[in-house]
């Protein structure tokens, strides 16, 4: 807020440069606030005519802290990996000397740079404003076509026409299941009632996914505008934004956005004189993965334990407090204003036959360019990982990519030409999900990954359905046993049988999909399970209990570094003489391998 006000105050004398620091959660975590504070000092000292501002996440998380420099003509230079120490040179050479510092540039309007390929295949609809302007300023949003879609819908379209436009766009729910958004709205519109609700599902619980967080932090008004349009279409006058408690910055920016929208008359009674009323409230989640399921989420808004209910009745008929309710996720709403402004046909022109538009993915794991990307549907997994994501870290071998979090599965490298659309991804056994994409290399054990997700779903099961509550526990025990080298013949078959039973006898999506990570890893990496069970070996050298550490006498120079770091003091040997590990005492922590500079420790 303050920075935006400062910008406007100084605009009487047009600044030579506008410098913008990326302050999304990633940017802050990487030290964004420190860079901002140091930058303020430097600018003050130099007495230059430079305006400062902040923005949300532009998606290049691997280059945080990011700093944009705009010249008078609006040309953009982006710097990556900025630290307070780098600022004096930046100020001196670029802001005072008008020569961009080439060494640190990651993006520039007038030259090709290696990071350009990060953007080349992206199509930004949802993320179009993220990292472009100040998310804490409603004026900035309105200067970029903000709330014009709402004006268009309220003043020139009937609710039916709005729904038709969304139907024509082919937009499907971005929360995971992919139900057509327009049809969902139509159902809620058709439910006759004097009170209806719209809800935004911002309970992004998948470990490894941060799309919704970035959108809420980087462009809160866009999500709110989508909700307003949905409310007009279905005939609702009250809405809830349900946001994870773990996202304090998103909550803070939404609160501010609601206050500002009220001041501008975009929320409240008789919006823009059209007779349309809408109130919006924020509800902070309290930490329960199952609340991402719509009926559980509504129970949570009602102040109850977040346990799912049997459907039908669907929320469109009987939702929050028994009233017709439309519930979509953050990314779905963030597409709406663009569709209304540009038309459903423009959106439907992107993508494949059954999956239209673009999709946001959070790229993480062993990938060179981890961050947030938005790509058109129809692109392949390979293109995302190698062309957008820059390939695997450290030049290692691509093994699999996990899509859809705990409800999804692992797509092996052999299927990297899979096309991104709801149906193709489902065919592999994974799901599109909300958009988490965790890339794994040859050091990741697939049995351990399956165990990791089961551990998660088992803890998050609400306990209502017996198979989900007890079945996931039994599966976890089997997987635990296998990763500890205590697996027995028949374990794989038992896992498959339990998986099948849990899928068919669980009420909600959590249970129905919980076995997916196990099923896909068995399907594509059965040999790894067998190696654990039969040979008691972990081919990825990841499962601790199955490893042995040995010092190769010929390579050891006796520097004692390993002995000093060993927490269980199990490495013995004289200085400048080969050392030996006492296998009985070794706790297999791997500290010695990390410390050894001579590659003298063999792990097998």
């Amino acid at each position: 807020m303050r920075t935006a006000a400062e910008t406007r105050k100084r605009s009487s004398k047009i600044p030579d440069y506008r410098v913008v620091v990326g302050l999304g959660s990633c940017g802050i975590a990487a030290g964004g606030h420190k860079v901002m504070a140091a930058l303020k000092d430097e600018i003050k000292k130099s007495k230059l005519n430079v305006a400062l501002a902040e923005t949300g996440c532009v998606g290049m998380c691997y280059r945080e802290v990011l700093l944009d420099v705009y010249d008078k003509a609006g040309n953009l230079f982006t710097y990556g990996n900025m630290t307070p120490e780098r600022l004096p040179r930046l100020v001196e050479e670029h802001l005072a000397g008008h020569q961009p510092v080439k060494d640190w540039l990651v993006r520039a309007h007038n030259q090709a740079l290696p990071d350009d390929s990060f953007y080349a295949k992206q199509k930004r609809i949802v993320l179009r404003n993220c990292g472009v302007f100040n998310p804490e300023s409603i004026q900035d949003y309105m200067d970029h076509q903000g709330y014009q879609a709402l004006v268009k819908a309220l003043k020139t379209m009937t609710p039916e026409q709005v729904i038709k436009e969304v139907l024509d766009s082919g937009l499907r729910g971005r929360g995971g299941a992919g139900f057509p958004t327009g049809r969902k709205w139509q159902f809620a519109r058709d439910s006759r009632n004097d009170k209806k609700y719209v809800i935004c599902n911002g309970d992004e619980g998948d470990p490894g996914a941060f799309m919704d967080r970035s959108v809420l932090e980087g462009d809160p008004h866009n999500v709110m505008e989508g909700m307003l349009i949905a409310a007009y279409a279905i005939g609702a006058d009250e809405g809830y934004l349900y946001v994870r408690a773990e996202y304090p910055l998103a909550v803070q920016r939404l609160k501010l956005a609601i206050t500002e929208a009220k001041k501008k008359g975009l929320l409240g009674k008789n919006i823009m004189g059209t007779g349309f009323n809408f109130e919006m409230k924020i509800k902070e989640g309290a930490g329960a993965f199952v609340c991402g399921e719509e009926t559980a989420l509504m129970a949570s808004i009602e102040g109850k334990r977040g346990m799912p209910k049997l459907r039908p009745p669907f929320p469109a008929v009987s939702g929050l407090w028994g009233k017709p309710t439309n519930i979509n996720n953050v990314e779905t709403y963030a597409n709406v204003s663009w569709i209304i402004l540009n038309g459903g046909a423009a959106f439907a022109a992107l993508g494949t036959e059954k999956s239209k538009g673009s999709k946001v993915f959070a790229l993480a794991g062993q990938i060179v360019r981890g961050g947030l990307v938005e790509v058109p549907m129809g692109i392949t997994v390979w293109e995302i990982i190698y062309e957008v994501g820059g390939g695997i870290k450290g030049g290692r071998q691509f093994k699999a990519v996990q899509m859809g979090g705990p409800s999804g599965g692992c797509i092996p490298a052999a299927l990297a030409d899979t096309v991104i659309d709801y149906d193709s991804v489902t065919q592999t056994g994974a799901i599109m999900g909300s958009g988490g994409m965790v890339v794994m290399d040859d050091t990741t054990c697939m049995v351990d990954i399956a165990r990791f997700f089961l551990d998660f779903t088992q803890k998050e099961s609400c306990g209502k359905c017996t198979f989900c509550r007890v079945g996931t526990k039994r599966m976890l025990e089997i997987l635990d046993r296998i990763t500890k080298g205590q697996g027995v013949e028949g374990d794989i078959e038992l896992l498959l049988e339990l998986a099948d039973k849990i899928k068919v006898s669980s009420l909600c999506g959590l249970g129905q999909t919980a076995p997916n990570p196990v099923l896909t890893t068995i399907k594509y990496f059965r040999d790894e399970y067998e190696a654990h069970i039969k040979q008691k070996k972990c081919p990825a050298h990841s499962c601790k209990e199955l490893l042995t550490y040995e010092i190769i006498a010929e390579k050891c120079v006796g520097c004692t570094a390993c002995a000093r770091v060993c927490p269980s003091s199990c490495i013995a040997g004289a200085v400048k003489k080969p050392h030996v590990i006492d296998q009985a005492k070794c706790v297999k922590c791997g500290s010695c391998v990390v410390k050894c500079k001579f590659d003298a420790i063999r792990v097998s």
């Binding site: 959660s25 990633c26 802050i28 975590a29 990487a30 998380c61 691997y62 945080e64 992004e204 619980g205 998948d206 470990p207 490894g208 996914a209 941060f210 967080r213 408690a245 773990e246 996202y247 304090p248 509800k283 902070e284 989640g285 309290a286 930490g287 329960a288 993965f289 949570s300 808004i301 009602e302 102040g303 109850k304 334990r305 977040g306 407090w321 959070a362 790229l363 993480a364 794991g365 062993q366 981890g370 961050g371 996990q402 979090g405 988490g436 965790v438 794994m440 990741t444 990954i449 990791f452 997700f453 998660f456 609400c462 927490p567 922590c589 791997g590 500290s591 990390v594």
Partner: protein, 162 residues
């Protein structure tokens, strides 16, 4: 099960001022229980059995319902926490980047297990599902400060220096 002894009348009547204030702020709001618990916890640090009873009386809800909600969601604590909260992320990206070793290093350094508080009451160590800073994995937070791209050594150092 042994029946808990009811608290003396005088104590039962006096709700903590924080509880009174928060409940009054949300009077008349439908479904406010979770918000009330969040705000009371923010004031008092955790939800003791006594606090839960006080909330139940102030909101005219059965104590079992308040307790049921407080135990369902991971955010709510029924035990006091240390001065600083240390949360180690065990999301997928952090897991494949070695979050297990980070937790192990911190457990060794602070001599506590997961969810426990150090003897001097300085730190409570916790593992959490995902902090959403996946590209900086492995990550941990001490209070609101985030530490990214950790190694077991840098995690130990962060705990020592804090």
């Amino acid at each position: 099960m042994k029946k808990a002894k009811p608290a003396p009348k005088a104590v039962r009547g006096a709700a903590d001022p924080a509880v009174k204030k928060v409940v009054a702020r949300h009077a008349g709001n439908k479904g406010a229980l979770i918000t009330v618990l969040q705000e009371v916890q923010a004031e008092l640090g955790y939800l003791s059995g006594q606090t839960i009873e006080q909330i139940s009386r102030a909101m005219d809800l059965p104590a079992s319902q308040v307790y049921g909600v407080a135990t369902f969601y991971t955010q709510f604590r029924l035990k006091p926490v240390g001065k600083h909260l240390m949360r180690v992320c065990h999301g997928t990206a952090c897991h494949v980047s070695g979050a297990g070793k980070i937790s192990q290093a911190l457990e060794d350094e602070l001599k506590v297990g997961d969810g426990e508080t150090t003897e001097d009451g300085k730190f409570t160590l916790e593992t959490v599902a995902c902090l959403g800073c996946c590209s900086l994995a492995p990550v941990m937070m001490i209070d609101s400060e985030t530490y990214g791209r950790l190694t077991p050594d840098s995690a130990r150092k962060a705990a020592k220096d804090f």
